[in-house]
Symmetry: D2
Subunit: 194 residues, 4 copies
């Protein structure tokens, strides 16, 4: 079935990405997350859903975290961090938000496939997640037309989004260890009004 | 124009409601909001939007507040308060949430047109906001059919929703005074990432 | 009580705004809303909540409507309309979104206190809603400091937000009439999963 | 690093789940999704984010889809389908929503680890996704205390959530094929206001 091939393609991408993690870089990014007064997360479309999934776990860990665009998100200030997820590193709303955050003295962590992007330039820490993004698929359009090569079974930003989600859930496991938290600590914070 | 009549009907409802405010009751509710460890707000549909508009201002006032259903909302516990907005007082999701909150030791404040409703029964404090609600309009259906009386120009829960919003914004003015906050204090907390 | 004064200040603002409605202009805006393939609504902060409250009623009327930033919002195209709510007319995210929408051939309707703003310049139709907005309150800061004049009891954009909401609910009454819809027609579309 | 072990644990779970897919069952579920007048998706917490990620792609495919709880979601009716994601199959809000949907004549598709759950009982089609869920982790609490066994590196519902997301993205690949859609068809619908 096609579904099995699609899943295999996704897993292959995650596998490759997990082999090129830069430990030093991760340690620094975790240090920033733990020591920030508040962490603000942001992403557009499905990357925004990944940002929210990560934010929920940061809250469970006891880190003060807000989602850009939600109701009770306060002003960002020096001592805070904006974590922005953008495969292309050039989503315009992300860029303008990151510029405001930087001007107000906040640190920026980028999760992107393109460390050399405009978002990368603005960021204090970059976590590079390889994975065909929306813009790759645009650039490949003509090539594919020409040589009739089969399409990816994971359309648009799918590979980047899933790989980022899994990577960030891996980071949660690291943070649990570093902050000496057990699953039961996390559960105590879990929303019960559902 | 019809729009002028509709606005007049809305203003008339707010006016009437504002004349029957119970000062004692309000003082108690404000006391609960100020002294809670965390305030959780909730409403369905347009009442949920009113709840969010109120939550934003509570955050500006420096009160720790969460919206039920948003990403970073933690577990509710003793010492916390759930403020639930429901015109009918019988929205099923609101009731089941209020029951969980109560069982966990939280206080309940209801904003409703029906203090004798199931939600009213569950609540520690009730703020009654008169205003034709969704259920009134249901009960009036047959009557209207029979006597051909003109319809309200504010369909479904509109009067309750707007009156609640204005009332809660009035409460913010009271809270600013009580907490000795100026508009400039509020602005410092206002989200800047827009 | 302060709450009564605050409510009176809000009602006074709505009253004044309702006296300066431009019928011709409204007719044209309604024509655009009814004839659009899809209406997209947008606002930041509490103006965004007003936009959502209006969108819910447009949906009840059977108009195809989307909220910018929600999950299932598709691409905007020629034949569509973006209705943007911004008191100041200069919210940066609103401006960049309006520019994209315009470039793709959509019409723009602005709800703003400042028809001469950047948002006003971009728009095909402007509905002016008077009401002290966030920027007024900023510009008044020094004046207030100097002459010790009492502060507004409706902080930041409150007057603009509430006046816009009531105005848009009045517009719904007009649209019901124009589209020959009864309250019972609207109820049939009302979300039941709550 | 712990992050590598966590990623490996996640991938292992997806791998196992992908080996037990029931083709017949999937074909039927896809038939329901394609032939529904409207698809409504729902989930709480991180499962809700998975539901939204899937809804976005259904929209790109041209299927009429709504997210329960978002602004423009209309009444559900006969001919519609509710797709509910719940690891445990016993989330109370999900159950009460599914009951309303069923009573109104809609079909129910469940994504769950527990086909024999209350949600399973209510559903017309069940897609079983294995993966330690929140309740497993609760039931294992005492066992782990006793035998000091190391904890999962994917706390609470993580394995279920990620496996469901990847599975549903695989389903999108199947649907693209079945509906004869290319990636470029999907892109035409992709939100551009970001």
């Amino acid at each position: 079935m096609i579904i099995n091939d699609a899943i295999a393609e996704i897993l292959e991408n995650v596998n490759q990405a997990s082999q090129s993690l830069d430990q030093d870089n991760l340690e620094k990014a975790m240090g920033v997350l733990i020591s920030s007064a508040n962490v603000f997360v942001m992403g557009m479309g499905r990357s925004g859903l990944v940002a929210k999934a990560f934010a929920m776990r940061l809250m469970h860990l006891g880190i003060s975290v807000y989602v850009v665009g939600e109701t009770i998100t306060p002003a960002i200030n020096t001592g805070d961090t904006l974590l922005a997820i953008s495969g292309s590193g050039q989503t315009s709303t992300i860029l303008s938000t990151a510029r405001i955050a930087k001007k107000r003295g906040a640190k920026i962590i980028a999760i992107t496939s393109y460390p050399e992007s405009l978002l990368g330039d603005l960021s204090d820490h970059i976590i590079t997640i390889k994975g065909r993004t929306k813009i790759d698929s645009e650039q490949n359009y003509i090539k594919r037309q020409i040589n009739g090569r089969h399409q990816s079974l994971a359309p648009m930003g799918t590979l980047f989004e899933i790989t980022s989600l899994i990577f960030l859930d891996g980071l949660i496991a690291e943070l649990m260890h570093k902050m000496d938290k057990t699953e039961d600590d996390l559960k105590e914070k879990h929303n019960v009004l559902e």
